[in-house]
Structures are given as C-alpha cells and as structure tokens.
Assembly symmetry: C2
Homo-oligomer: 380 residues x 2
C-alpha cells in the first residue's frame, strides 16, 4: 500500500490520516500543515499528546505529529514521558521526521469594552494609545506588591529578567486572567512580568483552547496567549503581537508512524533537498540524518551512563541532544530514562556505524530502544 493512498474501512480509497495535537489552528496544526499538504493528507485533530501516541499506535492514523522541544522553554516533558513508554504501549512507533515551526505568540482577547455610565465610554483606535502602557504596568505592579507576593505561579517568573520585546497595541488594564498552555507561558515571561504582573495565569491544554476560553468570557476580562491564526479564526482581538521572549522562538515537532515500512523515502516535503544515498559521502550522510534512542542504566551503577555515552564517541557519532526523565519503572526513586539524539540513520548507514553503536549501547545499558531515524531539517 502506498503511504499516500490507502483503502478506508468502507473499501473506499482515501488519503493517509495525520493526527495532531488540536484543536484546529494550534501550533501543532500549523506545523502539520507545513509538513503534510492538505490536498494529499487528511488532518485529524486529537485532544492530548497521549491521544496522538494512541491513535498512531492503533493504526487509526498513519502519522502523528507531537511537539518535542521549544528553543526558549526546553523539552516538552509530556512527549518525553510518552516516548519513555512506561506501560509498554507504543512498541511499534518511531519518529520518521522532524519539523520546525517559528512561533509567534499574541495576547488575544477583547479590546476594553465601553464602561457603563457614569464613566464616559473609552473610544480607542488601534493607532491611538489611550493609556500609557508604562503607567498601566506600574499600576499593576503596585497592585501586585500591595496584595503580597507568592500568588504568582513559577511560570510567571522571569528566570532571566529582561525587558519585554513588544508592547500592547491596545490597553490591557481590563485583563484579569490569562489562559494558555504552560509552554506558552514559559516563552512569554518577559511580557507577562512587564505588562501583566500579578495577573492570574491559568494553564489549559492548548493555546487554541485558551483562545476559546477568552472568547467565552462575556466580561471581556479573560485573555489568552495564542497564535494570530487562532484569534483570527475565532474573531478575537489581538491585544499585543510577538510577545515571546526571543525573536527566534522555534518549536521542533516529531512525526510518528507505526513500523518502518522498509524505511522507504518519506513522501513528504523536506526543508532541505535530500540527495540519494550514493551521492552522499558517509560523513555528509551522517550529518544530514539523526536518530533518537532511549536507554536506562543499571541501578546503583552510575558509571554506566558514561559507558553508554562513550559508545557514541567510540563509534564516531555526534550527540546532538540529551534529556532525562524519571524512569518510574525501577524499584527506587532517582532512576532515569535517558533520551539521546545522535547523527546518523539506522537504515541509511552504508558503513554500519549506527547499527554497531546501537549494538554497543544494548550491551552496556540495562534497556535501550531505537525510537526513530529521520532527515535533519535544519542545521544544528
């Protein structure tokens, strides 16, 4: 069966199904559209990262798209926790592609409503700053300090205090609460600390869901951090644009599939032109592909971590990332499952270097599991 053509349950030929972390207009949706043209794939939103793993493992979708890490805020631990596969539910899944998406967050909500009399209605246009934003921020800060600290969630803290990159394009003093995904809060600490300090922040499952909740609040006091796309779709006002801490805010996504299907070249667009194996010299092939591996090491044998990592060095394969999560499978606390990415492809490996290193790791680690090989989409 071709990857871009399949027979549906009713025997009708249909497009391959790609599930993604919804709802519609989420950042994962945007990354999915970038990788899977809508004319050739059926895109299916699901509610949670777990649903993506479940739906792809069950075969109900051919591919699943999950966020893996953000350049500002670090790893997506919920995705790592599913790759850890502690209940052994996702044995057939592997990563076949990475996708990068530039992420620009907006504060979205309702432009301050006309106040009921006796106050005169506030008339505003997008070009006329009716209130001095600095004054607003100072007011908010005073309010927060007067009410005592400790109410803020750590996501509203600034681990590296600096000025916000952008200012609100509309007054935001009527905003009393902000909904968003924890990762988005973590990427907008400077804006939140400068302009919305002390305001309640409420974690929800996605930035799109956050926008829906802001829309649903008739008081207009709720705002959300989401994409401009989500605001547009819902008819919400954009109160501030590009509120992310860093201009180069990028999220990296992984595409999951079930089985390796002989690892035929993916029928997908790639950011960089892929060349055939024979045209590439070995080192170029290595540096144009990456693999993901998880492993655990024997308990009470901390030297084993170094032993495993030295396998990559001995095999001449560069490590490009390393992560760890609690393993939660051993007898005691503070055992970890490690995740490494390294240059090289399990199947496009003419000199057998990747295969040898995977064997070496398996001999030293307590457990190890190849989680996928894929073309590199951007230079490291």
């Amino acid at each position: 069966m071709e990857a871009n053509e399949q027979v549906g349950p009713e025997g009708v030929s249909s497009k391959p199904v790609v599930c993604f972390l919804g709802p519609i207009s989420s950042y994962t949706h945007q990354a999915t559209m970038q990788a899977f043209p809508a004319d050739r794939f059926d895109l299916m939103p699901v509610a949670t990262i777990k649903d993506i793993f479940d739906t792809t493992q069950s075969g109900a979708a051919n591919y699943g798209v999950v966020p893996f890490e953000n350049s500002t805020n670090g790893s997506v631990v919920f995705t790592l926790d599913h790759f850890a596969d502690r209940s052994n539910s996702y044995g057939d899944l592997n990563v076949c592609r990475e996708v990068y998406l530039d992420v620009h967050h907006c504060l979205v909500g309702h432009i301050a409503p006309a106040l009921p009399s006796p106050q005169p209605p506030v008339i505003e246009t997008s070009s006329a700053p009716a209130l001095n934003p600095t004054t607003i921020a100072a007011d908010l800060r005073e309010t927060e300090e007067a009410s005592g600290s400790g109410q803020q969630t750590p996501t509203a803290q600034q681990p590296h205090p600096k000025a916000a990159r952008s200012r609100p394009s509309h007054p935001i003093s009527h905003v009393r609460r902000v909904y968003s995904h924890p990762q988005a809060f973590g990427q907008c600490t400077a804006f939140l600390g400068s302009w919305l300090r002390g305001i309640e922040t409420i974690d929800v499952s996605s930035t799109s869901r956050a926008a829906e909740l802001a829309l649903a609040d008739p008081s207009g006091e709720s705002a959300a951090i989401s994409s401009a796309v989500a605001a547009e779709l819902l008819g919400l006002d954009v109160l501030a644009r590009n509120i992310e801490d860093r201009e180069d805010n990028t999220t990296r996504f992984f595409v999951l599939r079930k089985g390796v299907e002989g690892d035929a070249p993916m029928p997908l667009k790639t950011d960089t032109e892929t060349e055939t194996e024979t045209e590439l010299d070995d080192s170029r092939l290595l540096s144009s592909t990456k693999s993901l591996l998880s492993f655990t090491v024997p308990h009470r044998s901390p030297g084993a971590l170094a032993d495993v990592l030295s396998c990559f060095r001995r095999g001449g394969l560069n490590l490009t990332s390393i992560n760890s999560r609690p393993s939660l499978t051993g007898a005691g606390p503070f055992e970890y499952v490690f995740f490494v990415e390294f240059e090289g492809h399990r199947f496009q490996d003419p000199r057998g270097r990747v295969a040898r290193v995977l064997e070496d790791v398996a001999a030293v680690a307590r457990t190890s599991r190849w989680l996928g090989s894929f073309p590199t989409s951007r230079g490291n």
Copy 2:
C-alpha cells in the same frame, strides 16, 4: 566569622540566616527544618526561587534552600534556569549540601458542607463514606466526556495510566477546582485522573499558597494539593491522604551558599556520618561526595558534547545526573546549557582527579562553571 554565629546589622550577635521557598509549611520549609535545626539557625521564607538566589547572593541570608528534582516528576526547571545564570547575577553561589525529603501529598479543603434546604443536611464522619467514591468518579468522568475534551491541562494527563494509590476519605463531588504547584500536579496524575478528572486545576506558586486559596473560598468548592502540615496549620480538612503516584515520592533539595569559606566542614547534620579524609580511601571519598557543573559547547559542533562527557570517563569520575536547558545566550535557537553531577569533591580531592577533570572540561567546553561540591546524602 563562624558560620553559626554572625553579627547582625545592629551589631547584635545573631544566628545564621537560611532562606527557603516559602511560605511557612511548604515542602522546602520541611526540608530546611530537617537540615537546619531551628535552635541554631534563623529560617526565612521568601516567595520565589529567584528570591532564594538573590537573597543568598546579596548576603542577606547565609544559606538558601531550593528544590532541585523530584523522583516522580523530574527536574525543577526554574531552579536549573537560575543555575544557568544567564544574566550573570549569581557568580558567588555554590551548592554545599543536598537534602532529601519524602513527599506525601494530600487533597485538602472543606468537607462537603450541609446543603441548603430543601435537601436534608448530609451528616458525615471521617469513618462513614456517605457516597461511593467509584460512583463519584464515574459521574465526573461522564460529565467531562459530555463537555468535550481538550479542557484538561497536560498536567492532568496520565503519561503512564494506572490506578490511584489512594481513595478519598471524604466525598469530594463538591470540589470544582484544585489549586497546587505544577510539580505537585505532576506527582498526583493517577489520583487526579481517577477521582477529579475534568476538574479545573490552577497552578500557583506553592502548595502552601494553594491551601490558603482553598481556605479563602467560602463556597467550599476549592481544594488544594498540599502537605498535611499545611492543612493542619490552616485548619483545613484532609479529604484524601497520600495521593502521590508513587510511594517513594522524594524531592531532592540543594543548599546554596555564597563563597567557599575555605570549604570548612559544614556545621550541619548529615544523613550519613562523615568520616575524616584520612580515614577514607580515594574511591570511597569519591563515592561519598558529588559535584555539580554547568557547561555549554561550541555552536554547530555537536561532537563537543561527547568530548566534554568523555573528560569524566577519562578521569574516572562517574556521572550521576545530566540535564539540559536552552542556553538563550547564543546567537541562535537550540543551543543548550548542560548540567552534570558527578562523583567527587573539588576540595576533598587528595589525588587531584576532580581538579584535573574540571581543567579538561574547561579546555573542551565553550564555557564551564563549577557549581558546588557536597557530601552525598543517600546512595544513588
């Protein structure tokens, strides 16, 4: 000046000051009391992890206690982000001790209030389960499914679905929202998924603060995940005990200080008896101490990570943990600052192995920084 005696601002001799992540009765407070006997130290609550770093760096406190990692939920990224010290504010701080605390979470709030007539008042005792908890859970689940998914935050997901370890000791169907710290939510996923599925979860800065917010809600519909100590202190009811996913739920804390003070032996209790240097052979000394180091590697030179890690192997020092966070200091995204812990002490190092490895790392890494050496409190 002795570490356990100092001259205060008014020239009055006073005890050394230890700041911790407050408020009173937080888990960090409990860990602090465990390490710093109240008769010999002044314990000072501060509001945020940043405040602990600031207060210790400024000298306003002699020691600061920060949570570093939890055995169920992984690293405390806000602490890592401060160790990354991206604004170069904490150059004098180092870790001089680790403290382990067994963490038992409770659901605390108000026992279901007597309902207004016409309903008869519900009379309950702690031993009489007035409602079948399974029915409550099933009801909640139906409500949640009917209202559509996607509203849950990822912290409420179960990356490793399993039965909750404990049941509520009182009916909890009146609970409409739960306050807690994100880390605590992450440690109670099974209980939340089984008993409070679809209920709004609100992140706040500490579990103690969460308990205060539950107390402040006159409707009784707010609950909190916090310690039994916090509930007791505030006069809240404990609705369920030991709701953490794992019995061995443990948080590891670091004690910060400013400068090395000649690295005199700490005037503190330790979990294990420390012996003098001369009585310990070299390998025993190595395995009874640990050091923390951060480093970055040259951009676009992924092999450098393996180069740095091989320094530890070559020097015979076991790695005991590794973490990474976005560096946010380089020119582009997806550069990392790495944190490793390894066996060995910078100053209790008769054969000079630690010093040599630190030199080797400095030669290979782009930047590297020793962040402390301390006695190991528990076996790994």
